[in-house]
């Protein structure tokens, strides 16, 4: 089984420096790409069926294709790496950032070349201090070696790549809020359309890709679309970093073929539930996805299969709910997070999420009423996609509505017993 993304990564050790990275075949993809026309690189990525790993699964080449090209395209154009990994339970980008910073830089150079970006930014989560350190030093090496800056490797192409360490908010992971944050404004999302490819950073054409997406690009260019597709066990190409947290024997993070079934990840890689704990459900891709329960564990973890199963692949980082943990308490914890991280722009989000949190708090404290469940149900519905300005509140509604569906009895017990049965 090939693991191209993590091949060079040895957790707990220093990442490969430039020489080591080159020795392992690094930056060959940049050399190759610079010899191709941007459209040719785009065609390879398109054929590979690489889909955005940030959670939405939008085809990467398609995203790039909306960038205006040619001499009369507005300049400068921007490529941004969204490294603001703040999805609860998710720590996959951190591995890539800390473990192999050159891989990301190489991916960014190629991607930037493909859309003919002039400037690129890595928008990094504030708390990732080690990643910041390692990226800084890798960037310096890349500039010294001529992979960045003017006329990269003697070509006509130039790229400035900057690291920007975010001030830190969950909403900065929303690509348009990220742009506002990068411009020094309130990190409120922007209206779409216009999309960033047309009017992005400082009003110029901009592409925002996630860390894992960009890290795939050098390998696709190096080894070709067919190879990439073959890595996968499903229609979506490549491998995927899957993580598991919660009461399993071996919580962790693994690079596996895209489409590996949930059960296989849970049992083979995470070692199954710890002794004395029973599995009740899991959030498959960070906090803003629907609960998956025991009878759905054979679903393949890829974008389309998860959607069919009524959830989303999301970040692919699972959070396990066990029988010794109160599902209402878990939801309270999550909804507290979402309410707190609401940017305060649109009403359903800033007001609705706080109300949800209050109701859940009441249930946990024993002051719940049966009408509270109706309120929660209606909120889960009213915070749906299209009702709010961005995807934060719909994301928050997903675990809530599926939690109500799968753990309804537990909610009723809270009301009936006027207390949390787990306390």
């Amino acid at each position: 089984m090939e693991t191209p993304l993590t091949n060079n990564i040895s957790p707990g050790k220093e990442p490969a420096d430039l020489r080591q990275y080159e020795n392992a075949g690094g930056y060959a993809a940049v050399r190759k790409a610079l010899r191709l026309a941007p459209a040719e690189v785009m065609a390879i990525v398109e054929e590979s069926n690489l889909r955005g790993r940030g959670g939405a699964g939008f085809p990467t080449a398609k995203k790039w294709s909306f960038v205006p090209m040619g001499d009369d395209a507005p300049r400068p154009k921007y490529l941004i790496c969204n490294a603001d990994e703040m999805e609860p339970g998710t720590f996959k980008d951190r591995l890539l950032l800390e473990g192999d910073p050159h891989q990301l830089i190489e991916g960014m150079i190629i991607s930037a070349y493909t859309v003919q970006a002039d400037v690129a930014y890595i928008f990094l989560r504030w708390a990732y201090k080690l990643a910041a350190e390692r990226l800084e030093s890798a960037l310096a090496e890349a500039y010294r070696q001529g992979y960045l800056g003017k006329n990269i490797l003697g070509s006509e192409y130039s790229l400035e790549l900057h690291l920007h360490v975010s001030a830190g908010r969950y909403i900065c992971g929303e690509e348009t809020a990220l742009l506002n944050a990068l411009e020094g404004k309130r990190a409120n999302p922007r209206a779409k359309p216009p999309y960033p490819q047309v009017s992005g950073l400082w009003g110029k054409p901009t592409v925002v890709n996630s860390v894992e997406t960009l890290c795939n690009v050098p390998h696709i260019v190096n080894r070709g679309a067919a190879w990439f597709k073959n890595l996968s066990r499903s229609a979506d190409g490549g491998t995927k970093l899957y993580g598991v947290s919660g009461r399993v024997k071996k919580p962790g993070l693994w690079e596996l073929p895209m489409g590996t079934p949930i059960r296989e990840i849970l049992e083979e890689h995470a070692g199954g539930m710890q002794g004395g704990y029973r599995f009740r459900g899991l959030l498959p891709g960070g906090a803003s996805t629907n609960f998956v329960v025991a009878d759905q564990l054979d679903v393949a973890m890829d974008f389309d299969s998860m959607q069919v199963a009524g959830s989303r692949l999301g970040t692919g980082a699972m959070i396990i709910l066990d029988d010794k943990t109160c599902p209402v308490g878990m939801l309270l914890n999550l909804e507290h997070f979402f309410a707190q991280e609401s940017c305060g722009w649109c009403t359903p989000c800033w007001s609705g999420l706080s109300w949800i949190e209050q109701i859940l708090q009441g249930l946990e404290e024993g002051s719940g009423q049966s009408s509270d469940l109706e309120r929660l149900q209606s909120h889960a519905r009213l915070l749906g996609p299209g009702h709010t300005f961005c995807a934060l509140a719909p994301g928050a509604a997903e675990p809530l509505q599926s939690g109500l569906k799968h753990f309804g009895d537990d909610f009723h017990r809270h009301i009936r017993e006027k207390r949390c049965p787990w306390r």
């Binding site: 908010r169 742009l179 309130r186 922007r190 209206a191 359309p193 216009p194 047309v198 009017s199 400082w202 009003g203 309410a339 707190q340 991280e341 609401s342 940017c343 305060g344 722009w345 649109c346 009403t347 359903p348 800033w350 007001s351 609705g352 999420l353 706080s354 109300w355 209050q358 009441g362 009408s371 309120r375 209606s378 009213l382 299209g386 009702h387 709010t388 300005f389």
Partner: protein
């Protein structure tokens, strides 16, 4: 035009608009908060949710925000859809989660948009059981009150304050349901447009602090359509009265003039009407040296009749702050040849020049709305932020006109406000500002230029020459300045709607002529152009049209006449002797004019001393009244009707808001009374406003259209007048119950088709007669939507006012050729130029306590290098003595350093209490005032 289907019925809609604006224009009651017709859409509040269907077969549809969805041909939407209704009700419920449930006792109640929308969506029962979040409120100064617990986070305040009006010190802070709209700390809001927060806020977070000082329920206010009197722009207002005092001013939408906004001087200056120094009874001085004493109206008029019976030795001095009708009445009373304009020789010449330039054309004077549409602007010599604030606000929008094309290229609709701003980023202009000192608009200017007035004029002449080589050239232009002139010329030439703005602010005729040359050079070379002049007062242009030479001529006539007639007078020594004495004057009648505001005190003293009798008709006890023998109490704008002509040349009618106590009446009625009692009335006396307006229109052809500024007094709708009191006006039968239980008949109003009562026509009157904006279910100012055919566009039936000046468009204009020489410093002398202050430079608004609190304090502005030469540092006391003051009058002033002032130029705040009446520019000497020398000044 395109067809859309709303709830399965077809409607004609405007392509390119958003669905919210269209639904409102079509008369649907679709609730909203964050959207504002002047601010556009941002999609924050989610209140205007509707259902949109893909096509006829789509039965499910999806929820969209009407404000963020463009009108497309054949669009199918539903407002009534149950899911959309449920969602809208939920949005209000979310907004009300933290909002206080105290509507019955809330001071916003009764005109609260949130209250209206809550009722509209049907949210009536509170299901939230938690605690409400609370905030600390800030002291934002004397104008705006802050009550953050009411906030619904719609972001309108910061979008208006920052994005629209360019303020910096109010922002959205923090996040989630704790977003705080305020300053970084307590303090006076810096923007001179802060009062608009009161109307922009859909609930009571920002309220009128001056109203709070004398609060009354909104439905208890008697209101009438009015016009602001605090600068020359003529913004439309709605003053409200209760129990004989004026309580507040609200904006009266006029699409061509002020739109949705007012400046703080205009909104808060009204309290002068309630000032304790108001004159409410006639005052009479029985003998020279005696004190002025209250008199009954009949005695005062008899006394004047006696003064005037002695032959025809009377002159009248008019006023640019009095109505056209009042000026005309005085002119009629004394005769046109004995009528003097109430302004200085300098102002009279500048006004005549402006009037002439606008009348001759070919450049047309734009409305404020047209200023917003300009796409390249040169401001020459005028600090519009301080002399005409709403013009500055319009310019702040105009700098977005050209950059808007960037967004158009990306197919971003103009109303998608944040998207447009993100696409456009910092692109602004072109806007060029050439003024003596820095202005608050400099942050959006393409280039600025600072110089003495003469050099500003030279820049203007050079721009004109760069545009058309047959315009007179400017000699000895420095290269840098020539480059600037060419840059400006290029920007104006390539624009679609170039505009030149100038005015009387720096008191220099060459500046005005240079502005005209720029406009004419554009026109003469086949380019479009508009030319906008600011004038200092509410009826400066109207008074100028009424005619009369300056009051200095009156001074000369009176003082020299007195000298010849009465050789014992002290004045004789100083009077010029070359004026023949065939025109002797016994009595001067001064109309709404404090001459001490307009000329040096010593000059006015001599003048008033030389006249045997002085009659003053005014509303405020001032220095001129103190010298009068008879004072007649005039009505302010709130107690009178009349017509004012603004800087655009637009005649607008203002209507009496309430019946004042005492003998207060319109100045023109006093003039009529005097004519009646002296028997000098030629023809029928004027019985009402329409009659004097008609006489005026007949006598002065230029003013002929004022007849149509508003419907006449006998105008009725269905036989009914328009009520000044809302139908919810309370306590009518009780408010006099301590005096009599019999309800008196409402006062008659012979002058207006408006009544002083609740009864009358409750529908929509013609736009000039709208006493307040109200519609069923719409109790806040947002009801204005219901008075427009297309929301955000002119009032139904056209915006109020008539334009008096339309230039000959195709005329080839002759250039002015009086190019001044370059400014050179004088040794030990400074050219003192006026610096205007939005708070302080206006005579009347500064009498309002809240404005007085914000008014600038006297100072002398110097270039730091000049100050250093004089041994002066910031804050040091200096002494300024104007060269023309032969009597040693001087002013002790603390020094302010202004690096942008040209060396050799000093700035003096215009019109401040203590500094009024100083005609500038003028040369003066500045010295360091040693400690211990301070006494005796300022005068």
């Amino acid at each position: 035009m395109t067809t859309i289907h709303i709830d399965s019925r077809p409607y004609i809609a405007q392509d390119g608009d958003n669905l919210l604006q269209q639904c409102l224009s079509l008369g649907f009651n679709l609730p909203y908060f964050c959207w504002h017709p002047a601010l556009g859409s941002v999609g924050a509040c989610r209140q205007c949710a509707i259902k949109q269907f893909k096509n006829e077969d789509d039965q499910r549809g999806k929820i969209v925000m009407a404000c963020m969805t463009p009108v497309t041909d054949g669009a199918r939407i539903s407002i009534d859809d149950p899911e959309a209704r449920e969602f809208r009700a939920s949005v209000v419920e979310w907004l009300m989660v933290n909002h206080p449930h105290d509507c019955p006792v809330c001071d916003e109640g009764g005109e609260c948009h949130l209250q209206d929308m809550t009722v509209m969506t049907g949210h009536a029962y509170r299901r939230y059981r938690g605690r409400k979040r609370t905030f600390h409120n800030q002291n934002l100064g004397p104008l705006v009150n802050h009550e953050m617990n009411r906030c619904i986070q719609c972001y309108r305040c910061t979008r208006f304050y920052r994005d629209y009006a360019g303020g910096r010190d109010l922002d959205a802070l923090a996040l989630r349901n704790q977003v705080y709209f305020g300053r970084h700390e307590d303090g006076i809001l810096e923007s001179e447009f802060s009062g608009n927060l009161v109307e922009v806020c859909p609930t009571g977070v920002f309220t009128d602090k001056t109203l709070k000082q004398h609060y009354t329920r909104k439905w208890d206010l008697q209101t009438a359509p009015s016009v602001c009197v605090h600068c020359g722009l003529g913004c439309n207002t709605i003053p409200g009265e209760r129990y004989g005092t004026l309580r507040r001013i609200r904006n009266r939408f006029n699409g061509a003039v002020n739109g949705y906004f007012l400046c703080d001087r205009g909104r808060y200056g009204y309290e002068f009407v309630n000032n304790k120094h108001r004159i409410r009874q006639p005052l009479l001085r029985k003998a020279r040296g005696a004190a002025l004493q209250s008199a009954i109206k009949h005695d005062a008029l008899q006394h004047i009749a006696a003064l005037l019976s002695n032959g025809n030795r009377v002159i009248g001095i008019g006023s640019p702050r009095a109505s056209v009708e009042s000026n005309f009445a005085l002119r009629t009373l004394v005769g046109p040849e004995r009528f003097y304009a109430g302004v200085s020789e300098q102002d009279n010449r500048l006004l005549a020049s402006i009037l002439d330039i606008l009348r001759q054309g070919p450049a047309r004077s734009p409305s404020l709305h047209e200023v917003e549409l300009a796409d390249a602007v040169l401001v020459l010599g005028e600090d519009v932020c301080n002399t005409a604030p709403l013009l500055a606000l319009a310019l702040r929008q105009s700098v977005r006109t050209q950059p808007q094309k960037i967004a158009e290229k990306m197919h971003i609709p103009h109303w998608n406000d944040n998207a447009v701003r993100e696409a456009v980023q910092q692109e602004r202009g072109p806007l060029f500002i050439a003024t003596v000192a820095g202005t608050k608009l400099d942050d959006v200017a393409t280039r600025t230029f600072r110089a003495a007035p003469g050099d500003l004029a030279r820049l203007g002449f050079a721009v004109a020459h760069a545009l058309d080589s047959s315009a007179p050239p400017v000699q000895d232009m420095p290269d840098a300045l020539q480059e600037l002139a060419v840059t400006i010329a290029e920007a104006l030439k390539t624009a679609e709607r170039p505009m030149i703005i100038s005015g009387m602010g720096c008191g220099d005729r060459a500046v005005i002529e240079a502005a005209a040359n720029v406009a004419w050079s554009l026109s003469n070379t086949g380019h479009p152009v508009e030319l906008c002049f600011t004038v200092p007062e509410c009826n400066s242009l109207g008074a100028a049209m009424t005619g009369g030479v300056s009051f200095e001529s009156a001074f000369e006539t009176v003082v020299s006449g007195a000298a010849c007639n009465d050789n014992t007078a002290d004045a004789a020594a100083e009077a010029s002797t070359d004026v023949t004495a065939d025109f002797s004057v016994d009595t001067i009648i001064i109309l709404e004019n404090d001459l001490y505001q307009r000329a040096d005190a010593a000059v006015v003293d001599r003048f008033l001393a030389a006249a045997k009798h002085v009659v003053v008709i005014d509303h405020m006890d001032n220095a001129t009244c103190a010298r009068a023998d008879v004072v007649l109490p005039a009505g302010t704008f709130a107690e009178a009707d009349g017509t004012l002509v603004n800087n655009e040349g637009r005649a607008q009618r203002f209507f009496q808001v309430f019946v004042p106590e005492g003998d207060i009446q319109e100045s023109w009625r006093w003039a009529q009374d005097i004519m009646t009692i002296t028997g000098s009335c030629k023809g029928q006396p004027w019985m009402n406003l329409d009659q004097i307006t008609a006489s005026c229109a007949a006598a002065i052809p230029l003013l002929q259209p004022i007849l149509h500024a508003a419907p006449p007094a006998d105008f009725r709708v269905g036989g009914q007048k328009i009520p000044r009191q809302p139908h919810r006006y309370s306590g009518r039968t009780a408010m006099r119950a301590d005096i009599s239980v019999h309800e008196p008949k409402p006062p008659e109003d012979p002058d207006a088709p408006l009544s002083f009562s609740m009864e009358g026509y409750l529908g929509h009157p013609p736009s000039a007669l709208i006493p307040r904006f109200w519609a069923p279910g719409w109790n806040s100012g947002q009801a204005v939507n219901k008075f427009q055919d297309e929301v955000g566009l002119p009032l139904a039936g056209g915006d109020p006012g008539v334009r008096l000046i339309e230039p000959v468009p195709a005329r080839k204009a002759e250039y002015f050729s009086n190019v001044p020489t370059a400014f050179t410093r004088h040794a030990d002398e400074w050219l003192v130029v006026p610096l205007h202050h939005v708070f302080g430079s206006d005579e009347l608004s500064v009498l309002a306590p809240a404005i007085a609190e914000l008014a600038a304090r006297p100072y002398l502005a110097l270039n730091p290098a000049d100050a250093a030469e004089l041994g002066l540092a910031a804050g040091n006391e200096s002494r300024l003595q104007l060269l023309r003051a032969t009597d040693g009058t001087g002013y002790s002033l603390p020094v302010q350093l202004k690096p942008e002032l040209q060396r050799g130029v000093a700035g003096l705040p215009a019109g401040l209490p203590g500094l009024a009446g100083i005609i500038l520019p003028a040369w003066g000497k500045v010295t360091r005032l040693e400690i211990g020398m301070k006494q005796g000044a300022p005068p």
